[in-house]
């Protein structure tokens, strides 16, 4: 999956992963993809819920050891 930008929020706990993701998304153009690396387990439910509410699409999701990776396409 090709991403436009990678955001590393590993080690950060709620609410920071979403706060940082939102800030980063605001700098992207429609259709670009942000790749977010996060270790906070709360993101598993919160990231899709936030993306859905904001209108963005999670186009892919991976789990690599303890790291969750979300690929979010900007609306």
């Amino acid at each position: 999956m090709n991403s436009t930008k990678v955001l590393d929020v590993k080690g950060m706990s709620c609410p920071m992963p979403i706060v940082r993701t939102k800030k980063e998304m605001d700098t992207l153009n429609t259709g670009e993809i942000l790749e977010v690396h996060v270790t906070d387990k709360g993101a598993l439910a919160d990231m899709p819920a936030w993306a859905n509410a904001a209108g963005h699409t999670i186009v892919d999701q991976e789990e690599d050891a303890e790291v969750l990776k979300f690929f979010i396409k900007k609306a």
Partner: protein, 375 residues
């Protein structure tokens, strides 16, 4: 305006004392619908924190000014962030220290009654999870029944009361929460009892909890008697304490009955459950006070915060004890079961000693309501 920390203990007092509270729950909608802080006089607003990142102006008019507003999230971080925003908008506001994680862990010890000869019976109410544990105290000794995993709450309480923990029982192999029984016994040298039929796969030593077993707490007076009462699990055992109290484990609750499926054998155990509820318990004195191992809804709490009711009253009022036809009973307890508790299979493995997760993993497994009942 100010942001003030509220502890789980303070929230527990508000539940027990029937005080009002407005809860702004900033977890996502699924989490809120699945499980929240229940109070007799609590009001709620659920807006996920990630919908408030651009500001809280829209929700300020929805926050009351005549009662405390408590912001709640899973672990604390998001509630603190939202509370600060609400405060900047000119309102005093509280946040829950440690979030739902800490609410799920909090235990409130409440005295149920004095017992014969100066003994005492305490119920430890875990409001966030609906778990109930018990301590019987008499003449310098204590017995504990269905202890949850916060072992130091029990050992510290025993120290405060200046009693030695001699007996630790589990009424059955729990599937909704992690037992603290074995660890309390290890730490204090007490005997740990488990029903052998539930313990076939456990990997530690235990003393078999057989039907008819009795132990005395203290030198003379208080007797705890075991009564085999299968149905929730094949080993489920009840206790009669001081001839007055019936500890039913997960077989009979105040407003519901135990479900037979959490060890995967609903069809096999439904007959045992019927037999226990409609025959074994019927032979007991109706004046026994039922003390279950769980409550499911806040309405099951008495005015003093305890969960306890006369057996005769339950025979009259509990729907699960009033299903005449065996066929209807079978349908009720096997067809329309609620979702199973979070991670119940893993929790059973922990309670068998097969896996030993760290504290964070244990907390994660225990997220959510207990769901041991069928109504």
């Amino acid at each position: 305006m100010t942001v003030i920390k509220m502890t789980a203990a303070e929230v527990a007092r508000k539940v027990i004392e029937n005080q009002s509270l407005f809860i702004l729950d900033v977890r996502n909608k699924d989490a809120f619908e699945d499980w929240k802080i229940e109070g007799h006089s609590f009001d709620y607003l659920n807006i996920p924190y990630f919908d408030l990142l651009d500001g809280v102006d829209e929700i300020i008019p929805q926050l009351p000014t005549d009662k405390d507003v408590l912001v709640v999230c899973a672990k604390e971080g998001s509630s603190l962030m939202v509370a600060e925003m609400v405060s900047e908008a000119g309102r005093d506001v509280f946040y829950l220290e440690g979030g739902m994680k800490s609410w799920s862990s909090y235990l409130e010890p409440i005295k149920v009654s004095d017992l014969t000869g100066g003994g005492e019976l305490y119920q430890f109410v875990r409001l966030g999870k609906g778990c109930l544990s018990y301590m019987v105290i008499s003449e310098g000794e204590a017995a504990i029944i269905d202890a949850v995993r916060f072992t130091e709450v029990f050992t510290n309480f025993a120290k405060e009361k200046n009693v030695e923990i001699k007996h630790v029982f589990d009424t059955h192999l729990h599937a909704d929460h992690i037992s603290g029984g074995r660890h309390i016994a290890e730490a204090t040298g007490a005997t740990y009892y488990l029903p052998p039929k539930d313990a076939e796969e456990v990997v530690f030593d235990y003393t078999p909890l057989e039907d008819g077993l009795t132990v005395k707490v203290g030198a003379s007076q208080i007797e705890i008697g075991a009564l085999y009462s299968p149905g929730h699990t094949i080993g489920s055992t009840s206790f009669i304490v001081d001839s007055k109290y019936l500890l039913t484990g997960d077989i009979l609750f105040i407003d519901s009955i135990g479900r037979p499926d959490l060890a995967g054998l609903a069809e096999d155990w439904v007959g045992d459950l019927r037999e226990t509820l409609y025959r074994r318990y019927r032979e007991l004195a109706e004046d026994l006070i039922v003390l279950p191992a769980h409550f499911m809804i806040i309405e099951e709490l008495n005015e003093d915060g305890t969960v306890a009711k006369r057996l005769g009253d339950l025979f009259a009022e509990n729907h699960g004890l009033n299903i005449e036809s065996e066929e209807d009973f079978r349908h009720t307890v096997t067809d329309n079961l609620p979702p199973q508790p979070n991670a119940y299979e893993q929790i059973r493995q922990v309670n068998m000693g097969k896996i030993t997760p760290d504290t964070d993993e244990q907390t994660e497994m225990e997220i959510g309501p207990n769901r041991c009942a069928v109504r």
